[in-house]
Symmetry: D5
Subunit: 162 residues, 10 copies
């Protein structure tokens, strides 16, 4: 089987990306999924996410986990990086950020299944970890979303703020 | 999508909160859930919980994990901090604390689902970790609560009191 | 909601408990469960358990995890401590100890569900971890016991004897 | 309830066991299960297993996890130690070792359920972890074996060869 | 039961393997599964995988986990090592690599069930972990594949890029 | 050598200590050091320390490590517990707390050497860990204090606020 | 000894700080050191540092450890937070950032001793950790700086980019 | 070089040791050090130590680390085990236990250097870790003891009582 | 203080580097050290190093730690990446690789001090970790090199080949 | 600089080594040190060491760490593997094993400095970790050996026998 060719995606070859630091969902790009006949998962681990608190304007930090079953499209990973950068000077609640990221990726990819989990650093001694998921309505992936929500995080990780 | 505006919540902008150190459920505040059409989880990691033993008056310490699926309301996180502070000089059993916290949040939020897990530090070489949950009666969330209770903590964390 | 009062339990307030170091199930005490209308879990982490090998008389050491869904009664935690101390000079196999502890707590509490897991230190390079559970016969908790046994310990912890 | 007496098992009290270092299933001994009316698990953690590669004659090392639900018999732990020692100068593939160990214990104990998991150290940068299980045919334990195989190791442990 | 004999497999005894560093699925070899009557798992942990990025030609690194239920054939482990080496100077996307590896092993072994999980190191602050699986069509193993996909990675590991 | 007798210390045998929750150095008690001819260390690990922020009145949390070489006196451990409890509703900077604790123990014990290290939980994404030490002036312990300060914390522990 | 009073520092009581996101050393504030007669360490753990790469404009992330022996002044911790925020949209090399932070704190505090260690996340598979220190020239603290540099990081932490 | 012969030590070959559970220093035995011309360390890790609190009679638990440079004699390890067992029903302070253990081993072995470190589990939220050492008076080992005391435990381990 | 400008270094801005996969020390580039008046450390963590075994031609893997005190020059980090890539198809012993890397960086930078530590994955159950260092001859950095060699790795990390 | 050539060492290229399982120091081989003008360390991590107890004939297991500064010779790593294998059926005390290994390597290599640390698995709840070292007599390496012995293992690793 042949590997990918350089002209299949634009972002990776660009000389110097312009980094945008306020919410810019338009930077997201998709590439073709070569294994669309098979259901499989792709997970992105993104420990360098930062946004601003909409009330205090103070920086917030999180690790964002994005996991999805593609249909025809994969998200191109460099464009995902640019997209997450664009929250840098944008203000929103933790609960809103994970929902918005998932909405934008559904819009881009029309995936069979997707989930987004944000694990934020604490403010005032408490940290917040919102988790949302989605299965294409009317398909078995909708049931999958229900099932995974029902089984979500039965073992909260140990947290001591250090 | 626009971010949150500053006047949506009262607690975050307040100059100096008065901290109350005996059980004060009235400090809890809710904010609107902007994604009420979607079932998703919000988890709070609270490793700085302290209360008093009702028998010996000695301080107790715990990490409290609160996880819920909101309906129309989210708990405002700074008010949750103030609420948990209010147990500081209040005396109650470990088993009672987690049940009371869950009762107060059900009262405030009318959530679809909620669970509270307390992991206390040991006294006399034994530590106690109570866990309670709730699904709105008569809905699929009630089944969810049963399911999650049945699957609760099959892998107790390693504990050696050090 | 009011906290617990001091005269509800006898053990916690006693000046000096007499510690008994041979199997004494009679020291166990129960207190009223204030949340009996709700199914919830209470877990005890007991990393300071020691007994004697019935064959060699050599000391054995274990961490014992006890987890149960109370009905009308909670086990009072200080009395549980005294009970576990009473194995100190008692000789029995690892497999027997966990079964006996569970039998005594069923006798005391008539719980809806209970499980006991002992994780012993190695002898001759091998360590033994017995696990037993119980659901009240003829109720859904009996099914729960079957379910949890079927799902028990799919991920054995890493052990290297150091 | 009385503890175990010394003459119930032969191996523990023997002055000096003769250690046999080539495959000797005949050293395995069983003792009576005092709690045969109850389904419960016994797990052995055996991090000191070693055998020889049948092709290169080079020593192999593994941690073996054995977990079973006894019927009338328990495996006596010192005899299990002697049995595992007997692989020391025996040559076989990793996949074969775990199957043979399970076969010998089924032969000895006629257990309701049993599983054996070997985690070997790497050769050529790759490590191999075979896992087999068994439920008594025609009983619910056969279904249990299928269920546990289907759920086996969804979370492979982190391995970096150091 | 007799151990394996040296002439059963060719690769292990070879004096000096020629290492091939561009994609060479033909190096894969199979050996007979002696326990074909039993469903069991074999897992390979491969933390020394490296390939090239098809766009930038920059080296990529991953730990690859391969887990399968054999039918008549086992993959010979030294040939698997040679096969994975052959990606060293081959360029492909992370998502493609894991799918190709699984396709080649299905071709070689006709296994009942197989899954491949790649955990790559980050580029631009994001790491990608694709996971695919397969159950023989029309058998219970196909359902097993669906079940395991539905339950895949509910607990993403902690990642901080260090 | 005989063990300690019960009447050597007052605090351990007291029925019910009155817990004082504002700075009360007078609760500290000393006992005789039976090995005063030998220089040795005693360390206290105190992970349940809490005080109030003098500016915001918000609770602060820390683990306090106290380590000293006694001369004629040991600090009685239950009285140390009572003393540390007395910071519960007292307001002071992190830097001040560790200095005050050390001053009070010098006053009580006249130790040869002492050090106090506080590791606080973060506020605003930053945590503070003050460390002070003392050697009796004009003795080799003063040099020891200089030496240990010079070598202090060359390896800051990994901190990620979770 | 009395605790700190609210009017001793300005930053902590301010209603809403204006956050500045380009290098602003002027936000740093000092408070009086009440224990100036004693040499002791204060360490700040700052895992939420972010700046921009001066060449690519891409965000960089680091944990910054700052440790110093104060003379007359302590750095006020909220002002330190604001100062570190001010690197958010500022571009500089890793090696430059840690030197600049140390220069600014020397300017503010005239400390006896100070050190700054930055641990950055990887780019292109390599991470960079610069460390600088300073002792007041002509004093024993200058020797201390030499000594600590000579002993710096003999045990590099384990790093695998995940 | 020949290995050890069986009649060199008595304890290992004994059929059934009588275990003594009150302080019995007379059970300690020594064997000849075959490498007495070389200074080297022998360390014993003893995580299964238990004694009684002299005031409350409550069991205490500790890991004891013993490390020494032998002269003509080694402590025979099985006799050390018996000796440590003999504290099982003996009451003494933590600070006393480690000093007594060291005194008894000095008496038995006349070692060049020895140190004993006890790490006990917490009571009332505080754990105590006494450490003592000894170098033969008038030799370089006495300086070694001073040096090691001066450098003792600059990095207290993380303790959170769980 | 101004940040770095884009034209100060060539490698970071290049569109597409040509990656060279056989030993190419000429790709190394230096940039000016802006803080040459101060002795400070720069450490590179390089967990993605791979070379070939000169005897078997089999791939080797290592984490390389490089730490140095610059004089007038810093190594440009992207060029260091290219240089380490160039070992990909080059054959050499582990002991030789770390010495060669250090020699090349001395040649490039003329640093005051430098050290290189390689931690390789095991072959045949044994892993090799060579460490070399260098201080400019006739300066205090030469003594520093001796001192750091004498103190090297007193605490070997725990290794179990998994 | 040229890499190593294949004919420089005999062991690595051999088709099939004969593995010897009783103490065979004659299998050790040396190769030329190409960097003999520089003092540097080579460390071997050997977690797969096994021998027999000379009294009970029971297998013992250890991780052996060997670290040395070569003069003209390096130990060839495959021959070291064969040498360590040769302890497989050899009986000796832990203290003797590490001394013998060091003696044999001194004999082979005449190194400037060498140290050997064995960390054995527990028997009867106690594990033993002997450590010996050597510096060439009359050189600075002899002082180095004294220095490293004096600083040996100030931080015993956490051990809990699991
Ligand atoms: Ca933590
Ligand atoms: Ca422990
Ligand atoms: Ca372990
Ligand atoms: Ca352990
Ligand atoms: Ca590992
Ligand atoms: Ca990490
Ligand atoms: Ca982090
Ligand atoms: Ca952490
Ligand atoms: Ca890592
Ligand atoms: Ca790795
Ligand atoms: Ca802990
Ligand atoms: Ca904690
Ligand atoms: Ca712990
Ligand atoms: Ca191991
Ligand atoms: Ca490992
Ligand atoms: Ca333990």
């Amino acid at each position: 089987m042949m590997g990918r060719k350089k002209d299949e995606v634009k972002s990776l070859g660009k000389k110097e990306a312009k980094y945008i630091f306020d919410y810019a969902p338009e930077v997201l790009e998709a590439v073709q999924n070569k294994h669309a006949g098979r259901d499989y998962f792709v997970k992105f681990n993104c420990p360098e996410f930062t946004s601003l608190c909409p009330i205090t304007n103070q920086p917030d930090f999180a690790t964002i986990y994005i996991s999805y079953i593609p249909d025809e499209k994969l998200v191109e990973s460099k464009s995902l990086k640019l997209y997450l950068f664009s929250f840098r000077n944008h203000g929103d609640f933790h609960e809103d950020c994970v929902n918005i990221i998932m909405d934008d990726l559904i819009q881009l990819l029309d995936p069979k299944y997707i989930e987004v989990w944000g694990k934020f650093t604490p403010r005032g001694g408490i940290s917040i970890d919102p988790y949302c998921n989605y299965g294409r309505p009317g398909t078995k992936y909708e049931e999958m979303a229900n099932y995974r929500l029902m089984n979500h995080d039965l073992y909260p990780e140990k947290v001591d703020n250090r």
